[in-house]
Amino acid sequence: MSAAAIGKDLLGLEHLTPEQITLILDTAVPFKEISERAIKKVPTLRGMTIVNLFFEASTRTRISFEFAEKRLSADTVNVAASGSSVSKGETLVDTARNLEAMKIDMVVIRHQGSGAARFLADRIQSNVINAGDGTHEHPTQGLLDLLTLRERFGTLSGVRVCLCGDVLHSRVARSNLWGLQKLGAEVAVCGPRSLLPNAIDELGVRVFSRIEEAIEWAQALNILRLQLERMQAGYIPSLREYNRVFGVTRERLERAPRDIVIMHPGPMNRGVEIDSDVADGPHSVILDQVTNGVAVRMAVLYLLAGGRPELAEAAKG
């Protein structure tokens, strides 16, 4: 197979070029149509073996990857940390080497440690796709967010996007930040300072302390999930107050000077970072994000497997 246009692995968006990111998004467009068919399957990755190695609980991302793999006819195996040799104390590198010894082609990894996907990619021959590593990156989520915004605005250049909430602990925020900046969007963050990285000012983003200011400025809000354990760890006083001060509510959006596209990577805490009538409202693209997730992951699998981007239209059969 030819060398992939996006490299051996997809570990994050920070080190991709704008051209590579655009290539993935462009490739996702034709693949999106496959999922609209009655028979949602093409033979593109027939004979390839993909392991979904999930050390952290995940429903949405794992299922999305699995659909993407199956719709491209790959053989897939799901390995969860609990019930596997991992729970018996096996190291990450041993787990990976054992899988590779069974002759696989790709690993999709979700892990609680930042850098875990890179660690694996440096040590095995198979392609590695990062499905979320600690608080580092979640590149396919970033890509599906970019695709969703591009569908809405036609371009990302100059679009004003605000990432709201727990940027400090969010891998989604980091992937969004790199991807948006590379494609020319204006990026802001908004949240309590205790949930923003101390060095946020060095990341080339606008920082809003109040959600009202963010709403005044933004064309799109990507509302990050507030992990409930952050309150227990003392980063914020209470979920109730978080909603009162930082929550994206209908009342606040109604005062905005324009319609604002509402995004959320899920799973949502309704009534905390986002109110139900916003999540279910007319400007929410949250379910489009989910749909685009499958298409983007199909594109990534296809490109990493050495598929030629110009043949993506034909590859969908």
Partner: protein, 437 residues
């Protein structure tokens, strides 16, 4: 001496004899007899061979008082798989160290006189660099009850420290500084405010923000630095601050010294040669505590070594098993090996760029540690202990951890080209290491 054991004589011939403690700097000879310095300085000509004479050709080399590392982790007892006192003492000798101080965070902890005695015995059996035990400040290093300083000092300990852990309780630190005064020993503190540092894996800054790793802010160190300095002022006790890593700490130490407070401080070779950028790619061999900081911190620490605000260089040699470092960054243990690269890192990063002279290097590696910790050596004065380091200041080499004497392979300098290496290490008038010999 009995005729069965001829008087051992070591003659270090023709080197640049450099001893800041006496102001000596001339090409000449050093003669050691019966474990002591008999002569250091001008050329001796013919030496009467009234015993077993070993002559070492030192032309082109520097001959200095033996290097002393006041901060290393030899892992025995408890983790003999990663280092023993014997392998650590041999690694020290290979790095040009004639003596090292062993931190007490072993298993069990060195918090009583019997444990101190064990280390001394193992070091004698090793017959390489001297090993001086450092006793724990608190029983089990738990930060609660004071350990028995008096008995530990009596058994041969040279200082107390809970290194590896901070002394979280200011009251315990105060008591330790007061109690230590009776024995005139330093209380060495690992400065880390635990609630600020908790869960941190690297320096807090732009790199940690990008890599998604929890950061340790400068203030975690600096808050404890100023606390310790103020407690030293209150008690009159000698506080020694371990492995300083920030520009702010340097400023605080300067503040303390200007006021005559009994504070001394050390810096590690890695904190004056590497920055947080070394973590890029989640390199676990760049993970240590305190973490690598920024270029601004490195510059401030280099300046502090030069002007003496930082008294001495210590390695914080911390071997770990390969498997423990070969894992996800946040789960990997802190620490790197340093005994066999310290000299070369200082020559390459401080002497070669003209920041310090060899004179200052020898002072910070030998004279000053001896002075601060009250140890024998650190001088070539006639009659003093025969601990001498001979090093080649121009030898270039590429770091290959597989060649180390230490069992540890966890070095951030792996593959780097450095200049300067120990050629011959003499402890008590006996050669314990010769390069390529």
């Amino acid at each position: 001496m009995a005729d069965t054991t001829a008087t051992p004589l070591v003659l270090l011939r023709g080197g640049r004899v450099l001893d800041p403690s006496t102001g000596l700097d001339e090409v000449g000879d050093v003669l050691l007899r019966d474990g002591k310095v008999e002569h250091a300085g001008g050329s001796l000509g013919e030496v009467r061979r009234d015993g077993d004479l070993t002559e070492v050709d030192c032309r082109g080399l520097v001959v200095s008082p033996g290097f002393i590392d006041v901060h290393c982790h030899l892992r025995e007892p408890g983790r003999e798989d990663v280092e023993t006192i014997a392998t650590g003492a041999r690694a020290a000798a290979a790095g040009g160290f004639t003596a090292v101080c062993a931190m007490p965070n072993t298993d069990p902890v060195t918090d009583n006189q019997a444990a101190v005695g064990f280390i001394i015995r193992q070091a004698q059996l090793a017959g390489a660099a001297r090993v001086y035990p450092i006793g724990a400040i608190s029983v089990g290093q738990k930060g609660e009850a004071l350990a028995e300083f008096g008995e530990m000092i009596g058994a041969g300990a040279v200082a107390v420290s809970d290194d590896g852990k901070p002394v979280a309780s200011a009251q315990l630190m105060r008591t330790a500084l007061e109690y230590a005064r009776a024995f005139n020993i330093p209380v060495a503190d690992h400065c880390e405010e635990p609630t600020l540092a908790r869960g941190g894996a690297m320096n807090e800054g732009i790199v940690s923000a990008r890599l998604g790793l929890k950061g340790i802010p400068d203030e975690a160190e600096e808050i404890m630095v100023i606390r310790d300095i103020l407690l030293s002022r209150r008690t009159g006790g000698h506080v020694h601050l371990c492995h300083m890593s920030t520009k702010g700490s340097v400023e605080l130490i300067r503040w303390g010294k200007e006021r005559g407070i009994r504070v001394t401080a050390e810096v590690c070779p890695h904190h004056i040669s590497l920055t947080e950028d070394a973590v890029e790619g989640y390199n676990t061999n760049a993970k240590m505590n305190p973490p690598l900081r920024t270029a601004e911190d490195v510059a401030a620490l280099q300046e502090a070594v030069k002007d003496g605000t930082i008294d001495l260089v210590a390695t914080d040699h911390a071997p770990h098993h390969y498997d423990e470092k070969e894992r996800e960054f946040s789960d990997a243990p802190n620490g790197i090996v340093g005994l066999e690269t310290a000299l070369a890192v200082l020559v390459t990063h401080l002497v070669a760029p003209g920041i310090i002279s060899y004179d200052t290097l020898v002072d910070r590696m030998s004279c000053s540690p001896a002075r601060v910790f009250g140890l024998p050596g650190g001088t070539l004065r006639k009659g003093s202990v025969g601990d001498v380091t001979v090093f080649d200041p121009t030898a270039g080499w590429t770091v290959d951890p597989a060649q180390f004497r230490t069992k540890g392979r966890n070095s951030p300098y792996n593959g780097m080209s450095l200049t300067g290496r120990a050629m011959c290490t003499v402890v008590g008038g006996r050669i314990v290491y010769r390069h390529n010999a």
